[in-house]
Amino acid sequence: MSGSNDRWARVKDVFNGALARGVDERPAYVASACGQDDGLRAEVERLLAAHVAAGGFLEIAPPSMTGQRIGRYEIGARLGAGGMGEVYTARDVELGREVAVKVGLSPGDDSRLLREAQHAARLNHPHICTVHEVGTFDGRVCIVMERVDGRPLAELIPPEGLAPDEAVRYGIQVADALAHAHRHGVTHRDLKSANIVVTADRRAKVLDFGLSRGLAAGQLEDASTSRAPITADGALAGTLSSMAPELLRGHDGDARADIWALGVLLYEMTTGRRPFAGATPFELCASILHEAPAPVPARVPAALRHAIARCLEKDPRDRFAQSEDACSALEAVPLGAAASSSWRRRVAAAAVVLVLLVAGDIAWRMGSRTQPGPGPGAAGRPAIAVLAFENLARGEETSWLSTGVQSMLATGLAQTPALEVIASERLQEVIRNTGSASELARRAGARVAVVGTIAQAGAAFRLDARVEDLTNGRIVTATSVTGTDLFALVDQLTTRIRDGLGVRGTEDVRPVAQVSSASLDAYRLYSQGVDAYLSFQLDLAQRHLEEAVGIDPAFADAYLELALLSGPAGRPAERRGYLRKAAEHAGRLPERRRLLMNVEMARDEARFSDAARTLEELLAKYPDLEAVSTLGMQLHSPVVGPMPDDERLLGIQRRVAAAHPTSAYVRNNLAYAHLYAGHYDEAIRELESAVRLAPRQAYPLDGLGEASLLSGSAAKAIEIYSRALAVDPGFSFSRRGRAWALGVLGRFDEALEEDHDAPYLTAVVLARAGRYGEADVTLAGAVRTARASGDMTRLAGLHLLSAMLAVERRQYGPAIDACRLAEQTLANVPDARRRFSLGLLELICGVAELTGGRPAEARARFERQRRIDPAGLSGAAWWHHALEGEIALAEGDLDRAAAAFARAEPPRKQFFSGLVEGSVLSNDLMLRDGVARLAKARGDLPAAIDAYRRLLTFGPDQRWVAVFEPRYVLEIARLRAQRGDGAGARAEYRRFLDLWNRADAGLPEVVEARRALAAGASR
């Protein structure tokens, strides 16, 4: 041991010594330091090579702030990194809002940056990303700012430029932002399309106001004289190409340098190109200083072209004197559709003035040809998306209203079964993934969206809402309500939007306060609680929700959220309590929530048929709830559900999939419902589309592999599993699947190479290869692991497998011992899961008794097996017939055996999901040759041979997905020998020995085959 320690110490020394030297010097150093010790040298060289190749191996984005807390901010995921530092999501726990935090890269003298940022924190404008707070943490500058979800404007500009009205729309927003900042003495200094984010509702937000230090003098000099090629999308290139000539000349720029940058931005938006370009920084600078940009195409309105030219005057004195002037010039550009932007701007400027400048106050009616409509949503109903409202008040105590009003309005609108309302959860997901409104429309199935603003004056609120056509940004209808009672305002809004959309079937709709809470405080806490839940802050969510029911003890929806929260948190008693409370006040729930509550309650209380009935109702009315798909699986899966029902499961999954055409998860569930029902082609079709929907996930491919295997194509399954593993090498289901498929083809050695951590499968394959010794060791290890982890279901399965392996070796004692262990273990398994294994247990144990010559015991098992939940055994009743056949065969009652064996085949192919041990066992049951043994007993040798051949041929007609069974080859050999077919028998014996070439020494089967071959050879 000390020898190995010494050795390691030397490896360490030389390795560290080498790293302390330059790359060039290392080989010589290692050679001299190792002297004659070639082994040492090889080891150090191996490690040095690994060091070079390792790259970011094991490195976790250092030094991540995630999970830390800075003051009242809990830092979340890292969003990105830039020259100045890293940006993280964060949560303000006091105000319960999401923010972004920019953390300076390194501790150092950033006092100027700090001052500038504090300056910028004074800005408050709808098109400026607000800086909430500035400070230092651990010596690093931290800037807490508004979290803006969207895409950089730079990415939204197509090669040919934006439509003029779009360019003007964003131009006005940015110019207005500049004007606001300049009034407060803050200049941007690095305004460019990469620094502007456009949100899903097409609002531009300028980032990093006053935070740029621009380019330091030295940097600028380097850059402007550099003749190295510019990388097109590098940050330097972006910054340089937006720089005003006076900055390049080394002057301190003022607000007019920002106006120049606005000109560059407008030019880029309208033409898709930047006004100045060059292959090197030097050329670029020369172009900015001396050249006039290529003219803006004539299709662009003249007023816009003039405004751009005015911004891009080389002499700052010739540009617009103030950004307000640029803004006015842009507003004067004659464009119809741009009006909505200016409307928004004025609302922001004077929140209490009731002005509505809408592009036509048109109430859209369904069926109208001239105006765009919501269009059928994924559920087949008109679909409408409700986005978070912009809160112009910006007061911290009212910041929750942004999502609060959104959820109130969604609640109000969603009461109309005729309308599909896509609520925040799904929307936020789509926006985060794509950042694009039209993508949102496509994915979520909505063509129209409600967007709006909240303004506050004293106690009065004003809500402005517009229904926008997401495909073209046009306003379908717009409305505005004012008053002090927020609930009443939302109800008015609900009615007007519904009328505006011409939706009928509104007679059952109740005021929002009646289906939630009449207390604004309670609703606020509820809304904050739900937000916290969605961002995984379960403790915070629970606190808010508990406070909400503290204020309003009849707030049913808050109780339901609390119940949904406490279930997965492992607090079943609390869950039941909250569900009871929700039920007490069920009258206060909107219908879809009430139905969901009823399903959850019924499941909790094991009233499964009630649960199923309510699920049907939920499905009929709200098929767009993804939860319905999951609940369907949980209730009706033939593998784990308490109410196995193929047809119903299929019906549910079909409906939900129709409502969620783009959800790979739901499609995967639908495919499995088809698989359970034996519809292989349909399952494969659905899985193929799931693969297209989620190409970077392994699970749809894994499902496809399974479906291919079940449909009888093992080779194809192997290929597909390999594809799944290429997507995600860690997806061990696919390793297991591939091992199984290889086993089915008799490729035992390859199957055993798969590292899938499924010891029972390894044990089965080993035993098929005659390697019982290794199989026993594998099983013993698996038993220890299962026992240590307390997994009783698994443990029972392992004991059963031991019993089966003993039965096939005709070892009565060990078989009965293993059966007893399995029985004792199963007594500790919950009922629903136990049922699945019991039938199999009685079969294997019954046959064990028969092997031991105890038919009476076997009969007793048969009787017991009959009593296992006969209603639930639809898929497993064949086990019962199999045991009946075995008993009859042992008793010589061949007719009864024939009748029983005819029904002793599974009604559908044995799937291998769910309880894996159970399916491995039932698939690989050596006893599945009952029909062959019966034929043999009747003396019909050709029929027996034929039956064995069928069992050995894997294909579409095969009922079992079993690992290849060499013992059946041996049986054929015996039968052919019995028929006097010596040559045929010898071939089969040889095939058997080939399959068992690594079998344990001295197994009677091997001895028999060798003897038979030797006898044949001597003949």
């Binding site: 390795f15 979340g76 999951t630 784990v640 995967n668 061990s732």
Partner: protein
């Protein structure tokens, strides 16, 4: 209990392990419950969250904090490895979201790599060089910085840096043979 422990009660250390393990597991499970596409489960985030949860920071001296992270890194390793094992044998296609399962691999920041293999290799490395094994555990499973790691082990950050570099190279060589 952490207070006792920072006051030098060695038996409190052993008793703390199940507590930390339990809390981390609970956190991990609740994080995975409502899966969001943008969400990955970061070991360091969980460890820090558990710390906030279990310990009132104001009352624990720095040494207690360092020890906590030492224990938590070990617990996190167990959880991720246990989960990887369970993951390999969990049921599928039956109401459970398969997406949720493969997220944890991402969580360990080991895309395309087998956590179980790493665990085994790390055990071998620990036999060879206990300090290096510990450093990898703290850095990788606990998400600790170099300085935090140095504090926990009471060695200099420079030593941590050197050992970490060699340990990474060794593990890399173990897990990815050069001929592949």
């Amino acid at each position: 209990m952490l207070q006792q422990w920072s006051a030098g009660r060695p038996d409190a250390l052993e008793r703390l392990m199940p507590l930390v393990y339990g809390e981390l597991r609970r956190l991990a499970a609740s994080y995975m419950r409502r899966e969001r596409p943008d969400h990955t489960l970061q070991a360091s985030a969980l460890v820090h969250e558990a710390f906030l949860k279990l310990v009132d920071q104001r009352e624990v001296r720095w040494q207690g904090r360092a020890h906590f992270f030492g224990i938590a890194a070990q617990a996190m390793r167990r959880i991720l490895v246990d989960h990887a094992r369970a993951h390999a044998s969990a049921k599928r296609g039956a109401g459970e979201r398969p997406v949720a399962l493969d997220r944890v691999d991402v969580a360990a920041d080991m895309p395309g790599h087998d956590l179980l293999a790493l665990d085994e290799a790390l055990t071998r490395l620990t036999a060879l060089d206990a300090q290096q094994g510990r450093i990898v555990e703290l850095r990788f499973f606990g998400g600790l910085t170099m300085d935090e790691t140095a504090d926990v082990l009471r060695i200099s950050p420079a030593t941590v840096g050197r050992d970490w570099t060699l340990a990474k190279a060794w593990l890399y060589a173990e897990l990815r043979p050069p001929d592949r």
